[in-house]
Amino acid sequence: MFCSNTPHPERWLKPTPAGLYCLPGDFYIDPLRAVPRAIVTHGHSDHARPGHDHVLATPETLAIMRTRMGAERAGATQQALAYGETLQINDVNIKLVPAGHVLGSAQIVLDHAGSRAVVSGDYKRQPDPTCAPFEPVRCDVFVTEATFGLPVFRHPDPAKEIEKLLRSHALFPDRTHVIGAYSLGKSQRLIAMLRQQGFDAPIYLHGAHANLCALYESLGVPLGDLRPATVAQKTQMKGAMVLAPPSAVGERWGRRLEDPVVAQASGWMRVRQRAKASGIELPLIISDHADWDDLLATIAEVQAPEIWVTHGAEEALIRACALRQIRARALSLVGYGEEDGA
């Protein structure tokens, strides 16, 4: 695919303080500050920032951006590109391919002058009933995250973690189970997985989750009986499942619940002392990011001779690539990985 006379992607795709910039296309991918032209991989706020003149993304990501930041801040003009469709900007061919991270999340496939770079954004390989699964695309440079880029992070089967939650719910039927989960993606995934395992009771939501759950449903992801937790009576929620942002569960908001079992769904829960120090009683190791094994499996699948690492534990992933004779380098982009609770 990549011959000696085609320009290497590092000559047309550059890390800049504003984010990854495509020279021939004159656009940024997931820019960290307002720019004239942006392509956005997914709706988390560290990747989808407000105030761009022109935003290109999947229709779902654009809808998420409008819901979260208001139509006027979500890009002066928005341009939707569905998965699998292509678009040419100058002499760069652009295609969006599912990344499996959250609803609408996309890898940006860029073809220019005979070479191909794939900017994967955040991604995962585990099953997720709320979004399209990751599709590996062969390329010359694969730009990857490394949130869980350490060999200690191997996420267990998420279905087993949901079973653990349901067992605890059966063991403590009078205690309210309050689960800290990020409001975009993780929350809807947990609800959908609970429904898959036959949990039909109402699930109560913190205000921060309600809008996004409604948006998911309107985009065709059914989530069952959802109710606002903020107006519900404390006694009504006795023994119920409640979802809230991680920051709220340990705070007064969570404590006003009936003898709560404080749970949290995150890949970070794998490290006990970390889970422990955040006051969690029931850690659930469920993540929307690829774990160590999946990062390496993905790198092998896309067959790229060169890997660029955007954010996370770059060092270890670069070391693992070196052990596999794959060139790898850190882009040192500062500003990602701050939002989604992993």
Binding site: P151, F153, V271, R272, Q273, K276, A277, E281, A316, R319
Partner: protein
């Protein structure tokens, strides 16, 4: 092993003491002998597997993982056992049971042990693997002390926990006689004349509001010595020196042990005493935590004991007597016995709380930590009974210092930036480090500081982050000493964080010259 692993995991995450006791009780009541006894021994730290040290596990991990990836992982996780448990390349589902592990280790030749462990690790899932490693290397660190286990046993057997404390040091794993007694299947095991540890009586710190609401005329005052609390046990069947935590520290102090030529149980403070003068704690540190000692060390750091209580005289248990009566017995015993290398802790006469306050502040000059206040009519009770014994430490010195560097902690604080280096300003307007502190913040503050550090890092040196010089902390410390090891020339004793001063600009933090005046 699975049940034990699950117990450890649930204990670690259980939020309250009562939940932990309930978990332990359920475990002890439902698991068979000898498994539960070995689990209890593990919590007590009473198991030792000489062929299975953390070095063995590290070597095993090194043969199965890449060294650089391991060290990056360890730096993140912060706990060696957990790093190995998580990074181990297999995922098994066939863990061995606890007694089988212990028996196999006991019968194995030393050279066979690594192979045994490797086989077990391959058969376990990460959580059982962690339990196994913690078991082998000691230090379960699950937030459940032996005390909680004893409380759970007391609940299970419907006995007073002190009845268990009293006989504990006469028992050995897997404690089948203890479980038999608690389940009504056997008699209470008795220590007889074995030199066992007796539960110690502890003091509460005096808080400001206690000063006015306590009638201090009922109390006796003594110095609070800056050494370590010891229990001296000498019976016809043996002699022991125990730490306050019931650890047998006899081996570090053979010359003291040799001099015990009486039959009694005494409570006192171990100190380095040179020509009748009490030396600073740093001198005593030279003698602590040694399995053996040399005569040179014994001469350079001569130890003695300041006696303050008599618990047993021969076989007579004096603990139910009031303090005043025990003190009289102690003085009479001391006069009759003239024990070598021991002194009586003098009672300090006083007439009012104000006089005590003056004495307490004078403590710094006396090389003591403050005052001990003991009620004259108080019996010697195990634990920390309210209102009977008080410790009134002299007020700490304090300074405002600027956060300079941070490092991730280990153990409970691992993966948080919890170890800090603080600096003060020189005359030239430069920050120089004066103290490291690891404690004194709440979990909430730790979260805040951790986030702040991540957002304000300006450089990294391995695991250490240098941060913007902006965040001010009020530090407490007991004394400032000259030190050639620090660039500032000053080291602080017992530095700890008193308060986060987000209100204070860094330029207004303390200067080195004001610290020098405190030496």
């Amino acid at each position: 092993m699975r049940a034990f692993a699950e117990l450890l995991e649930r204990l670690l995450f259980a939020p309250g003491r009562n939940t932990k006791i309930a978990l332990l009780r359920a475990y002890f009541a439902s698991r068979p002998d000898p498994e539960r006894g070995y689990a209890l021994a593990a919590i007590a730290g009473a198991l030792d597997f000489p062929g299975a040290k953390s070095a063995t596990l590290k070597e095993l991990a090194a043969t199965r993982t890449d060294a650089e990836l391991f060290s990056l992982s360890y730096d993140f996780v912060g706990d060696l056992a957990e790093t190995i448990a998580l990074i181990w390349p297999t995922q098994g589902d066939d863990a061995p049971d606890l007694p089988a592990v212990i028996e196999a280790l006991r019968n194995a030749k030393r050279t066979e042990i690594p192979r045994l462990i490797e086989g077990w690790l391959d058969r376990c899932d990460p959580s059982t693997r962690l339990a196994l490693i913690k078991l082998l290397t000691g230090g379960l660190r699950v937030g459940a002390s032996l005390r909680l286990a004893k409380l759970a046993l007391a609940e299970m057997g419907l006995v007073d926990v002190n009845e268990i404390e009293e006989i504990w040091h006469g028992l050995a794993p897997p404690y089948t006689s203890l479980f038999a007694w608690l389940e009504g299947r056997g008699p209470r095991p008795t220590p007889g004349e074995a030199p066992v540890f007796r539960p110690v009586m502890l003091a509460h710190p005096v808080e400001t509001e206690d000063i006015a609401r306590t009638d201090w005329r009922d109390f006796r005052a003594e110095q609070k010595y800056d050494g370590i609390r010891v229990q001296i046990v000498a019976t016809p069947t043996g002699k022991r020196l125990y730490s306050r935590a019931a650890e047998d520290i006899s081996a570090s102090f053979p010359e003291l042990l040799e001099a015990l030529d009486f039959h009694a149980v005494l409570d006192g403070e171990l100190l380095v005493i040179r020509d009748g003068e009490i030396a600073p704690f740093s001198d005593l540190q030279q003698r602590l935590n040694r399995k053996t000692t040399t005569s040179a060390l014994q001469q350079k750091f001569p130890v003695g004991i300041m006696l303050y209580d008599l618990l047993f005289e021969a076989t007579e248990d004096l603990r139910a007597l009031p303090f005043d009566a025990r003190r009289a017995r102690l003085e009479a015993w001391f006069a009759a016995t003239r024990p070598a290398a021991m002194q009586l802790s003098p009672l300090i006469p006083f007439t009012s709380i104000d006089e005590l306050a003056t004495l307490r502040e004078a403590a710094r000059a006396e090389a003591s930590e403050g005052l001990m206040l003991k009620r004259g009519d108080a019996p010697y009770l195990a634990g920390r009974p309210k209102g009977l014994w008080w410790k009134w430490k002299r007020a700490p010195l304090s300074l405002d210092a600027v956060l300079m560097y941070a490092q991730r902690g280990h153990g409970k604080r691992s993966s948080f930036y919890s170890d800090y280096t603080f600096g003060v300003w020189t005359e030239a307007g430069e920050l120089v480090p004066v103290a490291k502190a690891y404690s004194g913040y709440t979990d909430e503050e730790l979260n805040f500081i951790d986030k702040w550090i991540r957002a304000h890092t300006i450089a990294r040196f391995g695991p250490v982050r240098e941060v913007e010089k902006k965040l001010v902390f009020e530090l407490g410390f007991d004394a400032a000493q000259l030190s050639s090891r620090h660039k500032s020339g000053i080291a602080l004793r017992f530095p700890r964080i008193l308060r986060l001063r987000t209100d204070k600009p860094a330029e207004e933090a303390d200067r080195l010259e004001s610290l020098r005046k405190l030496i």
